[in-house]
């Protein structure tokens, strides 16, 4: 068998700009990173541009946004120049995206089974019957006990944790090589989060995928991912192995770590992050 290339995704000097009436807003500035068959976390506070990065890779940014990059390569596809028809066969089939809240990201007027089957029917042109079989198998794979029953449920009839497992099965059924998960567990309770993450973890390991895990939760990303990219105001300030996060150098990363209340290192007062304007210069 052919050995797959080391990097699934390479991003070099990507910027995303939004022209507005009062000038150009640069949401992402000169971001470079690559993703192999690993779990990469992107951490940042609200407005740091972390979700914009995810969307730009999928080419799902709003039409007025301008994406610039030296290189934006996904496997054999140049995401900067690929025509929209080609993107249609990439999205959902080769790169898929898991969003934050299944309540809003699932179609409310379609049964969950049909929604999952739609992906295979669209991308692989299989019969409805086969799609149904694949869907049931996939639902079972994400630990849904009674897939026959769940297939015919509507999104409002399932719980948050089950909804997110349904999202995961929908995203994985076409066997993509890269998954972008944008805050996939922020809307879930702690115990449910644990289950959903362990399913995602198993599937990513089993199928040898690349995963971009976008989150604001430092502890979660540190314990779940292999590598962590820390973003601040649209820039990557630091990239570090998750295990070495405690030795992070950049003052912003250090500030975030110290601002976090912790069961293991209790402190009387939390450190308040002081933002240094120098961080904005590249």
């Amino acid at each position: 068998m052919l050995k797959p290339p080391e990097n699934i995704l390479t991003v070099q000097n990507m910027s995303v700009e939004f022209p507005t009436l009062s000038g150009v807003v640069t949401a992402v500035r000169n971001v470079s990173f690559s993703v192999g068959r690993e779990k990469v976390g992107i951490i940042g506070e609200s407005g740091s541009g972390k979700s914009t990065v995810g969307r730009a890779i999928m080419r799902l940014q709003p039409p007025q946004a301008v994406v610039k990059a030296d290189r934006l390569q996904f496997e054999d596809i140049n995401l900067l120049t690929a025509p929209e028809e080609q993107m249609l066969s990439v999205r959902g089939r080769r790169i898929s995206m898991i969003l934050q809240d299944p309540k809003y990201s699932l179609n409310p007027v379609m049964t969950v089974g049909e929604q999952i089957a739609e992906t295979v029917i669209l991308h692989e042109r299989v019969s409805r019957k086969e799609a149904r079989q694949r869907t049931l198998a996939m639902l079972e794979r994400v630990n849904i006990r009674d897939p026959q029953r769940v297939f015919d449920l509507y999104p409002h009839e399932v719980s948050g944790g089950m909804g997110q497992r349904i999202m995961i099965s929908m995203m994985l059924i076409a066997s993509p090589s890269l998954i972008i998960a944008d805050e996939p567990t922020s809307a879930l309770d702690v115990t449910v989060r644990q289950q959903v993450l362990s399913i995602l973890d198993d599937l990513v390991t089993e199928r040898n995928l690349g995963l971009i895990f976008i989150s604001h939760d430092l502890n979660l990303v540190r314990s779940f991912c292999d590598r962590v990219i820390i973003m601040y105001a649209g820039r990557v300030v630091e990239t570090i192995a998750a295990a070495d996060l405690d030795d992070a150098q950049h003052p912003y990363t250090r500030g975030l770590l110290n601002a976090l209340p912790s069961l293991d290192h209790p402190r009387d007062r939390l450190e308040v992050l002081r933002r240094d304007p120098a961080w904005l210069e590249n």
């Binding site: 506070e45 609200s46 719980s159 944790g161 309770d189 702690v190 115990t191 449910v192 989060r193 644990q194 289950q195 993450l197 362990s198 973890d201 604001h216 939760d217 430092l218 502890n219 979660l220 990303v221 540190r222 314990s223 779940f224 500030g255 975030l256 601002a259 976090l260 209340p261 912790s262 069961l263 293991d264 209790p266 007062r269 939390l270 450190e271 308040v272 992050l273």
Partner: protein
């Protein structure tokens, strides 16, 4: 001195056939100046307990004593002023078309307080906001500043108790640290008693002296801060929640806990 004493509290919603009992037989005491935490997953009844204490939900049985005064289903206006709430989402809890000054004036008008301008200025100063913020609208403020306004609105009636319903879960980590520090300073300065509802045990352990862990409308355990920090909690569910606040624990399959 005991500030809050709750005995056999049960709270329900709805009537007749659709009656749901959300909180079942809960008893606890909170001393003056203490911070008591309520932790649990969504639907476990933690906000409902808070609602009954605040007087928002009147469909309860059992007994509640606040500041050595038995509380009935209907409260006097001075009883209502004694405890004030701070809500989770500062984007939803402040009127978008009222200036901050008007938002802060409203409780004073309802409770017929005098020296209103001075009180508004003092409340803003207490939470560390500049005085000219009273002329601003909520959309001109950041999330952390809005949560400060929500705290100022709760403080303006000079309550003895603050009921905090997930006060930082809608905020970024760095802003959360500011708000938690502010709450700690205010408690020590004004000798306030807090009840803090949260799903994050790390936040609760930071601020609280004792924590009740709730599941299905009842307490499974009341743990002290020392127990949490030394990891000597008794109930397995508490441990699950503690693991959760540390992040992802690989290869651990859901620890025999029913998903609600």
């Amino acid at each position: 001195m005991t500030m809050i004493k709750v005995d056999h509290l049960a709270v329900s919603y709805g009537h007749g056939d659709s009656l749901i009992r959300v909180v079942n037989d809960v008893s606890f005491e909170v001393a003056k100046g203490e911070t008591f935490g309520l932790v649990g997953e969504s639907g476990c009844g933690k906000s409902t307990v808070l609602g009954a204490l605040a007087g928002r939900n009147r469909q309860w049985t059992g007994s509640i004593r606040i500041d050595d005064e038995a509380i009935g289903q209907k409260r006097s206006i001075s009883q209502l002023a004694k405890q004030q709430m701070v809500f989770q989402d500062p984007f939803g809890s402040i009127h978008p078309r009222h200036t901050i000054g008007r938002t802060l004036l409203e409780p004073l008008e309802i409770h017929g307080k005098d020296n209103r301008q001075e009180r508004v200025e003092k409340a803003l100063k207490d939470v560390g906001l500049p005085l000219n913020f009273r002329y601003r609208f909520p959309h001109q403020l950041s999330g952390g500043q809005r949560q400060r306004v929500a705290i100022a609105r709760a403080l303006i009636l000079e309550p003895r108790i603050l009921l905090l319903d997930e006060p930082t879960s809608a905020l970024d980590v760095s802003i959360q640290a500011e708000i938690l520090n502010l709450l700690k300073d205010l408690r020590d300065r004004e000798k306030l008693t807090y009840i803090l509802v949260s799903h994050d045990l790390a936040v609760v352990a930071h601020l609280c002296d004792r924590v009740a862990i709730m599941q299905n409308g009842g307490f499974v355990e009341v743990a002290t801060k020392a127990q949490l920090l030394a990891d000597t909690v008794a109930h397995p569910y508490t441990r699950v929640l503690m693991d959760g606040s540390r992040g992802y624990v690989a290869s651990r399959r859901s620890v025999g806990v029913k998903a609600s």
